[in-house]
Symmetry: C2
Subunit: 208 residues, 2 copies
Amino acid sequence: MTYDRKVLHKMSYGLYVVTTEFAGKINGQIADAVMQVNAAPRQTVALSLNNDNYTTELVKRSGKLAVSILSQAYDPALIANFGLQSGRQADKFAAFPPKFTAEGLPYYEGAGFCGWLAGPVIEQMTVGSHTIFVIEAAEGQPTGDAEPLLYADYLAKKTRPAAKAEPAPAGDTPRWRCKVCGYIYEGELPPDYRCPICGVGADMFERV
Amino acid sequence: MTYDRKVLHKMSYGLYVVTTEFAGKINGQIADAVMQVNAAPRQTVALSLNNDNYTTELVKRSGKLAVSILSQAYDPALIANFGLQSGRQADKFAAFPPKFTAEGLPYYEGAGFCGWLAGPVIEQMTVGSHTIFVIEAAEGQPTGDAEPLLYADYLAKKTRPAAKAEPAPAGDTPRWRCKVCGYIYEGELPPDYRCPICGVGADMFERV
């Protein structure tokens, strides 16, 4: 028996903005790996975040996060905003002002979203490059009538943001663009490489 | 702020048959809460299973499982087979003969499926009524050309199996049917109740 990593493309996901706040700093990122864990006695949701991401760092400190669920009416610019830059350098909320929970967590509702939930991290587990956080859904509402955005829909519509026009690097360094979020990788792409922004594998990169 | 549990209906999932083998016993169940965790150095997948399920009991003993991904060409009878009875009483594989990995794990490919993967449990974490298992995808393939089945598609098509014609219970005992899988609950339905077969909440039950 062998393993063909493309089987993971057959798994289905929504798309989400995961946000948190720690000591006055707020940040967020795009995620697809989000799932319900159980319904009673409390409703819990698990999600997987890359340990290198600033959002992950803040969640580990704050122990709380919010998940805003993107709808079919999503704004591609919002995905670019949360997916193409790091909160270590940029204020991701400047162009997309969030609402805030009583706990101070930023979240989104209204146009482009179909629901949100927020709560404390009750369990977490590191698995290689990622951490699985389990939160209790302490607050949250379905909002709007739009259907949830599927990751597959997003790929199919190819509404990914255009890569910025950047000067070609000197020499023969190859450049690879993530077909999902537009992230640019420079150099030889390792077969096990995963997009640091949106998490897809090396097979989702195209040479540019 | 308040919490409206219907927000969790805005999360998107595929549908999967999760199978395992322990000491010659094989079993499987339907699941929707399955997600990729990371891609390197090994690809891992997390899933949430109800601790009361026989499949869960066997996975805890065997430390390995397979995930077969249902496609749009799925057979509703297969979902009924894996969702409406317990492997403690019935041989779920009699009507749907599986294939087997070299490790002895049953799985499905071909018509009605679009991929499968299998491997050892490398991490697990109990969260209330459920356990999150993380497996390494050691084997697996995408199979066929059909698109993955979405849980939302399954609900919308209402291809759920018809509830068996059972005699009404004596007295005034109310009966509730899961709108997803057809499971029947007798008695007053607790607001935090969750379907023991397919995992949806009490708001997905209708009185019959």
